[in-house]
Symmetry: C2
Subunit: 439 residues, 2 copies
C-alpha cells in the first residue's frame, strides 16, 4: 500500500507518456496538494488521428502537434521532462531515464502507448515504414513524394511502373485513410504537374489479411468502405498476407480460408499499417501481459500487486461491459482521466473505482466525402459520415489556433484539391545504391 | 556561338536551381517555342529570407516553401526534375545528374546559389550548423528547443548555464535575426513554462569579426541595430573571431585592430551565420572564379567563352553601376529574369544586354518592432523599419495561401508571443555520448 499522504508530505505523481491517456491523466491530477511530473520522449503532444494527413502532405506537423509544456503551462504543480524512460522499477518506486537518472514516484500512471508491430519480421521496417510518430509521417511523406519524382526521371517503363505502385498493408482505419488519400493525390492533387508520367496510372493496392476492410466495424460498413475505396481508385485485396517485403516490392500469399494464389507486386513504396505492439515499458513491470504485450490491469486500471501504479491507453488490456476496450483515442482519454481520479481517491483515503468505457462511436475516413461511422445504433457512410468525422476531429484538436488553421486548410484543399505540405525534407534527391536495382 | 534556332528545331533551355534566380529565369523563358527543364535537388522553392523563422519555431516549413512543380504547373513547355546536378560539361553542352544521366542543353542558366562557408574549418559544422536549407532550419530548431529541455533536466549549475548559452557567429542579416529572435524566445515565449530553470537567465551572444553589426549597412544603422539588439538582451561582441568551436563551447580571439583578449564561452548551442561559399558547380565550368568561388560573368551575365551559358543569383560575381551586385533575393530575381531575357534575345537573333541592378533597398529585422532599412536615400529603424520589413516580406511570399497564413501566424504571435512551430522532430531525447561530457 502507498504511504498515508494525509500527514503533510506532498505526494509525487509521475506520468509516463503524453499522448491522449497521459495528457488526460495530467489534467486530471492537476490540483494543489500533489506534485506531478510528466515524462515524454517527444516535446509535443500529437493529435494522432490526423497523422496520416501529415504523411500524405495535407497538413504540416505543427498543425497537429503542440509543445507539452505549453499545453500544461498553467499547472504550476507540474513539471514536464523531455526524456526517454528506460524502465520502471516497481519495487523501488522509481522510473529510470535515458541518462540513468532516477525519478522517484508515490503514484505512477503509465501511458506510453504502442508502436507498430511486424509480427516478428522487424527487417521489413526499412522497406515498409509504419505510422506512429511525426518522424514516421515525414519519412512516409518523403517516400510518397519522391516516388513520383523518381518516376518522372525514369526511362525504363517497368521501373517507372514500380515507382508508381503504392502498397498499403493492413486495412484498419490508418490503412484505409492512407490508401484513400494516396488515390486522391494521384488522381487530383498532382494532375497536370508532371510531363513524362501520367499520375492517373498510379496503382494504390490495399492488402488485408481478414476477409473485409475495417474488420472491427459491422460487415455492412466494411462493404460500404470497400465500395468507396474502389470508387476512389484503390485496388482492395482482402484475404491476402504479405509473405516478403523488400526494396523492389511485396510478395503476397493467401491468408487461411482464402482462395487467392501467391503473387508478386513490384512496388517501390510500401506502407505498413497492419500490427500494433504495446510499449516495452509494460514488460519492465514484470506482471502478466496479453498477446500484444499489453498489461492486464485490474478493473480500476491498477497493476496487479502494485496498487500505486495505473496503466492507461493502448498499453492497458482491460474489459468494460464484457468486451475489451478498443485501442482508440477516446478510450485512452477516458482511461487517463479515470486513472487520475483513482489516484486522487487513494490520496483522500477513498477506494478506487472500476473503469467503465463510454462508447461515443467510431469513425474512419476514406477520402473526400467518404467515411464510415458507428454512433450508438446509428450507422453512417458517405457524405454524412464524412461530415461527422470532420467535425469530431476538428472539435477535438488541441488549442484554438490549430483548430482554426486546420479548418481553413481543409476548406482550401477541399475546393482546390491542393495539399500544401508537399515538401520533402530530410534527404537529397540522389538515389541510394539499393534504389538503383530494378524490381 | 549557339546554333541558329530560327530553322524550326525547338531549343532546350536548362535551368539549374529553383531559388529566386532560377524561378525568375523559368518564368522569364516561359513561352512557346522553347522547351525548358528546371533541375533542383529539393522538390520545393524556399522563401529563404524567412528561413530563420523556421529555425526559431515561428513558422513551419510549409509556410515558406512550395513545390516547384506546383508553382510552375501552368508552363506546359516546362519539365521539373528533382535531381542533384553533379557537374556541367560546357564543351559537350550537357549537365550530368546524380545517377550519371546526362541532360543536353542549347542554353543553360546556372542558378545554384551558395552554401555557408567555414573558411577552411569544415570540422566546425557539426557543432555550429549554418542555415541555408529547410533541413538546416529543422536541425537548428531541434538544437535550440532541446537545449532548454536539457537545461531543465540538468542538476549541475555550470552544465545548466552552458545549455542556456547560445552563441551566434556572424552579425550579418541572418545572424542578427537569429540572435534577436532567440532573445525573444527566452524572455517571452518560454516564460512560465519551466520549473527548474529561469529562462530569463539565458545568454544570447552575437560574435562579429568586423567592428560593427550589419557591416554592409551605413554605420549609423549598425549602431541603431546594436542598440536594439542590446535592448532585447543580446550580448553583442564586435571585433571578435571564433578561434575554436567544439560541443562544449566557443573560444574567441580578437580580430585584427581589436583590443579584446582571447576567452572561452561554455555554450552547448552555436549557430554559424558567418561565411558564404558559392555552389561548387561554378568550378565545374573551368572559368575564372572570385575569392568566394563565384563565377566572374560578363556584363550580360554570360560565362566568358560560353555565350550560351548564363549565371544568375549568388553564384554570379558581377558589377552594376560600378559596385558589386549584393547576394540578396531581389538581386537574384533580377539576374534570373535578365538571363532569361538574354536567352530569348539570342533566340531571336538580337544581341544580349548588360545587367543593371535596380536597388529597391535593403532590410534587416531584429525582433518585435525592431529593424533597420535603407530604401533609396531613406534610412529607417525601429517600428517604421519593422513595418517596412513586414510588408515587404509578406508581399513577396509565394502564393496567396502562404501569404495569408503567414500574416495570420504573425498577427497571432505578435499578440501572444507564442511560437506555434515549437515541435522537435528528428531525434529522441536520449543524450548522445558526446553531449554527456561537461564543458
Amino acid at each position: 500500500m502507498p504511504p498515508d499522504y494525509t500527514c503533510g508530505m506532498t505526494p509525487h505523481v509521475v506520468i509516463i507518456g503524453c499522448g491522449f491517456g497521459g495528457l488526460a491523466a495530467a489534467r486530471g491530477v492537476g490540483r494543489d496538494g500533489v506534485r506531478v511530473t510528466i515524462i515524454d520522449r517527444a516535446n509535443h503532444h500529437l493529435f494522432q488521428p490526423l497523422l496520416y494527413q501529415v504523411a500524405t502532405a495535407g497538413l504540416s506537423a505543427t498543425e497537429i502537434a503542440a509543445p507539452i509544456r505549453h499545453i500544461l503551462r498553467r499547472q504550476k504543480n507540474l513539471t514536464v521532462l523531455m526524456a526517454d524512460v528506460r524502465r520502471i522499477d516497481p519495487e523501488r518506486h522509481v522510473v529510470v531515464l535515458d541518462g540513468e537518472e532516477e525519478v522517484a514516484y508515490d503514484f505512477l500512471i503509465v501511458a506510453s502507448g504502442a508502436r507498430h508491430s511486424y509480427f516478428g519480421r522487424d527487417e521489413w521496417e526499412a522497406d515498409a515504414p509504419g505510422l506512429k510518430t511525426l518522424e514516421d509521417a515525414f519519412e512516409i511523406r518523403r517516400r510518397i513524394l519522391t516516388a513520383f519524382e523518381r518516376a518522372e526521371r525514369e526511362a525504363d517503363p517497368a521501373a517507372r511502373t514500380a515507382w508508381l505502385t503504392f502498397v498499403v498493408i493492413g486495412a484498419g482505419a490508418t490503412g484505409v485513410e492512407l490508401a484513400g488519400t494516396l488515390a486522391e493525390i494521384a488522381r487530383h492533387t498532382l494532375r497536370g504537374e508532371f510531363r513524362h508520367i501520367d499520375t492517373h496510372q498510379t496503382r494504390v493496392i490495399l492488402l488485408e489479411g481478414a476477409d473485409r476492410v475495417l474488420p472491427p466495424y459491422p460487415p455492412e460498413l466494411s462493404e460500404r468502405a470497400r465500395r468507396q475505396l474502389e470508387r476512389l481508385g484503390v485496388e482492395v485485396r482482402t484475404g491476402c498476407l504479405a509473405t516478403a517485403i523488400d526494396a523492389a516490392g511485396v510478395s503476397i500469399g493467401a491468408s487461411i480460408g482464402s482462395s487467392i494464389g501467391s503473387s508478386r507486386i513490384p512496388a517501390r513504396t510500401v506502407i505498413w499499417a497492419a500490427g500494433v505492439a504495446a510499449s516495452p515499458l509494460g514488460a519492465s513491470l514484470r506482471v502478466p501481459l496479453d498477446r500484444a504485450g499489453r498489461v492486464r490491469v485490474a478493473p480500476d486500471l491498477s497493476v496487479p500487486g502494485y496498487p500505486e501504479i495505473f496503466v492507461a491507453g493502448d498499453l492497458a488490456s482491460v474489459q468494460s461491459n464484457g468486451s475489451p476496450v478498443p485501442g482508440i483515442a477516446p478510450a485512452a482519454k477516458q482511461m487517463g482521466a479515470h486513472a487520475a481520479r483513482n489516484v486522487i481517491a487513494l490520496l483522500a483515503g477513498r477506494p478506487t473505482r472500476p473503469f467503465r468505457y463510454r462508447d461515443y462511436g467510431t469513425l474512419a475516413t476514406i477520402g473526400r466525402r467518404a467515411a464510415v461511422a458507428v454512433i450508438g445504433r446509428m450507422r453512417l457512410w458517405g457524405y454524412p459520415a464524412w461530415l461527422a468525422w470532420l467535425f469530431a476531429h476538428i472539435y477535438f484538436l488541441i488549442g484554438f489556433r490549430n483548430r482554426f488553421v486546420v479548418l481553413m486548410e481543409w476548406a482550401w484543399s477541399y475546393w482546390t484539391f491542393e495539399r500544401h505540405a508537399r515538401i520533402v525534407i530530410g534527404e537529397s534527391a540522389a538515389p541510394r545504391t539499393d534504389e538503383r536495382q530494378g524490381p
